[in-house]
Symmetry: C2
Subunit: 218 residues, 2 copies
DNA sequence: CTATATTTTTAGACAAGGGTAAAAATATTT
DNA sequence: AAATATTTTTACCCTTGTCTAAAAATATAG
């Protein structure tokens, strides 16, 4: 099977593939894994031999379908354990990552089948990220405007509609950028304004803002 | 801190110390850990440097108080996870050992505090073994005759009262020896006979037998 | 289209943990 | 007590995953 180190590489490459479409560079992996490019080259060559990724010298890597499935399964385990830690052991959602990083490598398919059932087969982890199903498939949804979201919905910022300087400056001040997770805490029907959560900050936004932000929702 | 391999050595030595009183031999550790004596020597010397055990060449090893505490904590985690697997995930008690062998190495004190609370601070694991408390102390109880045990009590065989050949042969046939776990499934007041469980076997024993077996109960 | 900068790979080393084979110490027989 | 058997240790090699330094490939600038 795959070692702890190998699983971590596959996971990192999986995430990098989704962030920047296309080949993943050696340096990008090294930075993500907090290791040296030379170590990455070694590991990537080993994983290519195992046919979980395709690798062309100096050209970067891509997961094979097998590799993608393995990576998705590690992520599935990570996120299920996060749900367990928050829902059952009452951890706060920002305390669970490190523990889940360890738990995700526990090897037992039956354990995960039962854990999933015990948790009620959740679709999302406590951070709002989708949990891949047992085949490694992730529910991917279409983007929509933040203003179309309902109370308690979560989304990931994937773009803006109108990109004026003032608007981008506003987003910068609010620490919103591509990939930022947003949760709608409240919505006022009268004027379409919202209270949203971004990281640990909660604040008010007008309808005009909400109509200019694209999010990918759960 | 201590690596996975180091924790496993400490755990094995802890158990061996309790089984055979006194120094633990290199060969005994090697056999228990399914490794070679030469590897044991290396590791034992390393652990002696770290002052978790005392080691005299050719004389065997003993855990230091620090080492014993670390080992007891690993065992605590192992047994708490076994309770989780059986009570919450509905595994059968004989399916959980391998998974718990992995889970016992997850590093997070807070996780164990919360897991323990979630499980209702159990005193025993699903096999009937006591769970060390957070300071590494194990409830040790006095031995008594099996005949003094009540229904549903569990005990570990620690000796016999009268050791005639016939009796020892009987015990051999029933696969009962020092360390064998016994659970009282039923007790007949009329004649003091019992139905007991030994491993996965269940059978009937007379009062005469029950009065000749010493057990250490929970 | 060279020259320079950056990225990536190779070569060689190291630490952890484990294995083999032989030497050294201890135990057991006779 | 000497001879033999067993246990334990030593010396050396292997694998995994990492690092540093230098070489090679690619990208960027002038």
């Amino acid at each position: 099977m795959f070692s702890l180190a190998e699983e971590n590489y596959l996971k990192a490459i999986y995430h990098l593939e989704h962030e920047n479409q296309g080949e993943v560079s050696t340096n990008a992996i090294a930075e993500r894994m907090d290791t040296k490019p030379s170590s990455v080259t070694d590991m990537v060559q080993k994983l290519a031999e195992k046919e979980v990724l395709s690798y062309k010298k100096y050209k970067g890597t891509l997961l094979t379908p097998t590799g993608r499935k393995i990576a998705a399964n590690v992520i599935r385990k990570h996120r299920l354990w996060e749900v367990f830690l928050v829902e059952k052991l009452n951890f706060h959602w920002d305390e669970v990552h490190e523990i889940a990083e360890q738990l995700e490598h526990i090897q037992s398919d039956e354990l995960i089948v039962r854990l999933d059932k015990f948790l009620g087969s959740p679709d999302f982890d406590p951070h709002g990220d989708p949990i891949p199903d047992k085949h490694g498939n992730v529910k991917r949804t279409e983007k929509k405007l933040l203003s179309e979201c309902e109370k308690n919905q979560r989304g990931v910022c994937v773009g803006v509609k109108e990109s004026s300087g003032e608007f981008l400056q506003y987003l910068d001040k609010r620490k919103i950028s591509i990939g930022t997770k947003i949760k709608v805490l409240g919505k006022e029907f009268f004027d379409g304004s919202m209270i949203i959560q971004v990281g640990s900050d909660q604040f008010f936004i007008s309808q005009k803002i909400a109509e200019n932000l694209y999010v990918q929702t759960n």
